[in-house]
Amino acid sequence: MENTLTVSHLTKTYKDFTLDDVSFQVPRGSICGLIGENGAGKTTAISAMLNIITPDSGDIRILDMDYREDEKKIKQRVGVVLDELNQIPHLYCKDIDTIMKKIYSSWDSRLFFQYLEKFKLPQKKKVKELSKGMNVKLNFAVALSHNAEFLILDEATSGLDPVMRDDILQLLQEFVLDENHSVLLSTHITSDLDKIADYIIFMHEGNIQFIKSKEDIENNYGVLQCRNDFFEALSPDDYCAYIKEEYSVKVLVHHKQELLRHFQDLVIERASIEDIMLFYIKGVII
């Protein structure tokens, strides 16, 4: 499958944090969720992709181009929404069109004003007069109005109410209806990824813990709550992580169907992305 983004052996060392030999891909036409606790390295990885920081080693290819040599070409075709990075507050919404049409070769003013209308953003209002949610919507309008093929979103929906988040998620789903479009969505709100992601990349302490398709997670992963004696009876091959509680054990299984064939009375709950993330961070990994 063709990849929109290929990150290979990306390493960046700071005094108190290392992004350690990170490699992953975003397949064309997919929505990839990048998850991990605060400080896991998600924003560092995204900053490297955008050439905002210089990695110590590693290679990044976006839309089949080198992220450093072809930075300008790449950024013409990539839309970016970063947390807390809004448009300049003194500008009017309509000013953004005036500026961007001189910056992006494929800027579509008509589309931009359509988004403003769709998001109910007044053209003659200053950015500083917009609410947080409206600012996020304006950022999305900008990111989507230059015919971007790849969206990079870093905590772009954080702080939004569920209704607005749902609107944005719908927008992303519409965006990937074009099979040449892809999205990398870094977020803490894993429930959003449960709804729309095709792949999940889980980062923990500067490393990639796993990369899985959501289909794989839905079909094969499950959470089993069992007594200690039952847990002892299980083979370590049956599960991938567990959390011991006072009187029971919570087990993350990764061959749900196989286990259900052996133990037909077992109740294995669906494992959400948040469950898996918690197991990998708080639990014992096999």
Binding site: K72, K73, K75, N86, I88, L91, M100, I103, Y104
Partner: protein
Amino acid sequence: MTGLIHRDLLISFRRLGKMSYIMEAVYFFFFLLFFKNAYGALTFFLLLAPINMSGLPNTMKEIDSNYKGMRAARLLPYSKKDLVKGRFLSALFNQLFYVAEMVLFAVCHHFIKGGISWVTYLLFIAGGWLVGIFMTAVNLLVSFTTGFNASAIIYLITVIAVGAGYVLFLFTGVKTGILAQISSLNTAWIFIIACCFDILILLASYIISIKCFDKTL
């Protein structure tokens, strides 16, 4: 590049707001109508206009520091070098507005007051612009090499230094028969030397700014 220049100019224009331009008009008419002798014109051309025309780097530094303006610019399809170049060009393009204002002032002053030749007006405008370019070059350099507070302080220092230089200029020997003296000086050489000095400062400022900016963000 036009996109970056447009961005900086529009942001600066919106940031300064109407009040700033009203004050500009007030100063313009004050020096034109109420303080209309030769010193009024001198003050407008050599002090007020250069200070006003060199404000963009500081305004943009404030936007960069307080509203992550430069971080937002890094997401745009430009290299780091382009961003520095764009800021320098914006600052220089911004000066054209003030040069036009000086020309307008000279024309109005000539018809209202008279007594100053067109050549002298031209020398005033060129002198003011050269001072403005020097101040802009210094402030651009500072905006790329220091933080917002240091940048604001150094901008203030350049304003005070230019003000002090102007006062010294008025209250030293040059004061007597100032217009005659300016006309009789070998102005061509003075301006060639001043232009070379400005170009050197501007180039040095540009090269150092690119090197410093490359290490940040």
